[in-house]
């Protein structure tokens, strides 16, 4: 009896002290996040925030869906400049330099200082932490991370006499198999293309980064002051994109990011290169057998890491920051990360999330979900520099100009390089 008291009393005391400490640090925080109309995904975010709020009744949280990634960053920046930033936001990993330059975020490593915190931060995949750091500080915590993967229509592969268990792994194989996958109607018009790699806009630039990585180079480095647009690897990548169209494997002209999953589901293309964040959408809507593989590579596998990280904003009170940090810990806990990953297809950013029973069951049922994780060791950071919006636009213009045939590829890359250098020289 006494023994029980001896154990129980400190527990009760600690619990009381805990609640006392917690209620003293009450905060109302706001979360900006960029998740699509995919209703289950929104519902999952809401469910997770509700759960956190229920566990922390002294706090309250409001989840604000602010549009796509770029729109959400714009909104967060304008709110921050108006002096009313969200306490925490999920924004593109590549926006780290912009956010630092605009001086609106805090290094999370300055907030999470206990040994326990450090252990927590060390528990993320290194591949996703690379673009969360700047000058020895950690500014972001990985959340909805992704790499693109190669989705393919298994039925189409069978129909074309290809082995559905051996998707293309190299660019040459992609072209060769792609040709066999093309179907034409009586008029000679293509009704099914071999593959589809988005080439327009930010999504196109992201995919392009993956091609460059597979050729053994990167488009940018961790300093944020170097753009490597005009390199042999990127010229080869651009030429690969052009050759896909020339060989009749892919539709000529620019290919939009948004239409791509739809085109795949409609059977307009036998395969597509797109974010693993589309897994749930494809899984739900596909009327045919499909599978996922590594992105075919130039000189071996390669992919860009992408997606969004948590950031904590500067113009906030200590209480809000503490609450935000606690919220991030909750959202990246194995259980929450697993739920989020299952709802969307994003890669859970911590190994321990993959060990949860939910995740194990999910992977058993949908083994495609593992591919992005297995591809992770071959992934490099996405194109990111200071003045990200401006510099990325140069890259986007170069890619779009080349694939639409309006500019010579080498010239396009060279022009983009010069403009990027002109902007970034101020930062070196």
């Amino acid at each position: 009896m006494k023994a029980i008291y001896r154990v129980a009393l400190p527990l009760v005391a600690a619990a009381l002290a805990g609640t006392a400490a917690k209620s003293a640090a009450a905060a109302d925080i706001e979360l900006y996040f960029p998740v699509g109309v995919n209703a289950p995904a929104v519902a999952t975010i809401q469910a997770l925030t509700d759960e956190w709020a229920a566990n922390n009744p002294q706090h309250s949280i409001k989840a604000v869906y602010a549009g796509n990634y770029e729109e959400t960053t714009t909104k967060a920046l304008t709110a921050a400049h108006a002096g009313q930033p969200p306490a925490v936001a999920v924004l593109l990993a590549i926006d780290i330099f912009t956010l630092i330059e605009e001086d609106v975020i805090l290094p999370i490593s300055d907030l999470a200082t206990s040994d326990e915190d450090k252990a927590w931060m060390d528990g993320f995949y290194e591949g996703f932490m690379k673009d969360a750091r700047f000058e020895d500080k950690t500014y972001a915590i990985p959340f909805q991370r992704s790499t693109p993967v190669f989705y393919y229509n298994v039925d189409a592969f069978r129909e074309a006499g290809l082995d559905p268990d051996a998707p293309p792994t190299t660019w040459d194989e992609m072209i060769e198999m792609g040709k066999k996958l093309v179907v034409k109607d009586a008029n000679g018009n293509v009704t099914r293309w071999g593959t589809r790699i988005p080439t327009l806009g930010l999504g196109g630039a992201w995919m392009f980064g993956g091609l460059v990585v597979s050729k053994g180079d990167v488009l940018s480095t961790e300093t944020g002051t170097e753009a490597r647009i005009d390199t042999p690897a990127s010229l080869a990548s651009l030429e690969f994109l052009l050759s896909l169209a020339e060989e009749g494997v892919m539709a000529p002209g620019g290919i939009s990011w948004g239409d791509t999953p739809k085109a795949f589901l409609e059977g307009q293309t036998a395969s597509m290169w797109t974010s693993t964040g589309n897994l749930a959408f494809v899984n739900e809507n596909a009327t045919f057998d499909w599978n996922v593989g590594f992105l075919p590579g130039g000189d071996g596998p390669g992919a860009p890491a992408g997606g969004g990280n948590f950031y904590i904003f500067k113009d906030t009170t200590d209480e809000e920051r503490a609450a935000a940090l606690d919220f991030i810990k909750f959202m990246t806990s194995p259980e929450s990360a697993a739920k989020w990953s299952i709802a969307t297809g994003y890669v859970a950013p911590r190994p321990d999330a993959w060990e949860t029973p939910e995740m194990q069951a999910y992977v058993a049922e949908l083994p495609q979900a593992l591919v992005a994780l297995e591809q992770l060791p071959y992934a490099q950071r996405e194109f990111a520099t200071f003045q990200r919006a401006k510099v990325t636009q140069y890259l986007v213009d170069a890619i779009e100009g080349a694939v639409t045939g309006s500019v010579d590829p080498a010239e396009a890359l060279q022009g983009a390089q010069e403009k990027a250098d002109a902007v970034l020289s101020d930062y070196r």
């Binding site: 714009t74 239409d259 401006k390 779009e400």
Partner: protein
């Protein structure tokens, strides 16, 4: 002769409403000029006077050159096309054919829709291979066109969207004008043996001129003012082939957060509109003079 306006009334009737108008029309236009002489402030670097540096950047900006070409083509394409179509629609609706109500609904419906909704609708309509446009082309054995993914079709596709949205509104104005055409004028022309085509060109069209001027001015302003569809459908791409001036101002300022250059571009925009206004005024005056 009107009474002199007493001071108290003037304050209520003129000063308060006009102050609001000036604060959001004249003041920002003037401040854009001032701000265009300063560089962009960031949290680490205060704004500093740079003289004409932003204007030098303006001259060296080849994306801007493309954007100006696009905007010009866009205005030259949408305004006459919308006017011609609006006149045709008005004639058809006015002809007392069966199904006029349905026809009017079809023509006028796009006008009621927000541009953002129109853009959503057309985005799916255009989607190569899967959208309705491709399916229709397919019926005629034509290969799908990648409307928004080609530099040579993207701007034209944006124009089609704008014309679709606006022609119906202009039709209404022409309808009003047509119904105001005196029947005896037309009868007189017919008595002289003029066919319907002659009647239209010799009698009706001249009477539509005031409407055409009104519509043209409106359409021209809209061509510069409305870029919602560009934001939703192409983001100015591919390779800036569908970027319009206001869209460019929007991305430079709010995407790239370069408020100084945004102000410089605003000055350019205001200058362009000013020149257009003077030009219109001059044309109107000259025409009036000849009559």
């Amino acid at each position: 002769m009107n009474k002199r306006l007493p001071l108290g009334l003037a304050c209520i009737m003129l000063v308060a409403p006009c102050a609001l108008l000036v604060a959001f029309t004249h003041y920002p236009a003037l401040r854009a000029i001032l701000n265009s002489f300063w560089n962009n402030a960031s949290s680490r670097r205060p704004s500093r006077f740079v003289g004409l540096e932003n204007y030098q950047a303006l001259l060296a900006d080849d994306r801007l050159a493309q954007v100006l070409v696009n905007s010009t083509l866009y205005a030259l394409g949408t305004v006459p096309l919308a006017i011609v179509l609006a006149i045709c629609m008005a004639l058809l609706v006015n002809a007392k054919l069966p199904g006029t109500a349905l026809m009017r609904l079809s023509f006028f419906m796009p006008t009621m829709l927000p541009m953002i909704a129109v853009a959503n609708i057309w985005l799916f309509f255009y989607a190569p291979g899967i959208g309705l446009a491709s399916k229709i082309l397919g019926i005629f054995g034509v290969a799908p066109i990648n409307f928004l993914g080609r530099t040579d079709t993207s701007l034209a596709s944006m124009m089609a969207v704008a014309v679709w949205k606006e022609a119906g509104l202009f039709m209404i104005f022409y309808l009003a004008a047509l119904q105001a055409v005196p029947a005896n004028l037309k009868d007189a022309a017919r008595l002289e043996g003029a066919g319907p085509v002659r009647v239209f060109f010799d009698v009706v069209l001249p009477l539509l001129r005031p409407t055409t001027i009104f519509v043209a001015v409106n359409a021209l302003i809209n061509a510069f003012r409305l870029v919602d569809h560009v934001i939703v459908m192409t983001e100015g791409g591919p390779n800036n082939s569908s970027a319009l001036l206001l869209y460019y101002i929007y991305t430079v300022t709010f995407g790239q957060r370069d408020f100084a250059y945004g102000a410089t571009l605003t000055v350019l925009m205001v200058a362009i509109l000013g020149v257009l206004a003077i030009f219109q005024f001059w044309i109107l005056n000259r025409r009036a003079h000849y009559q």
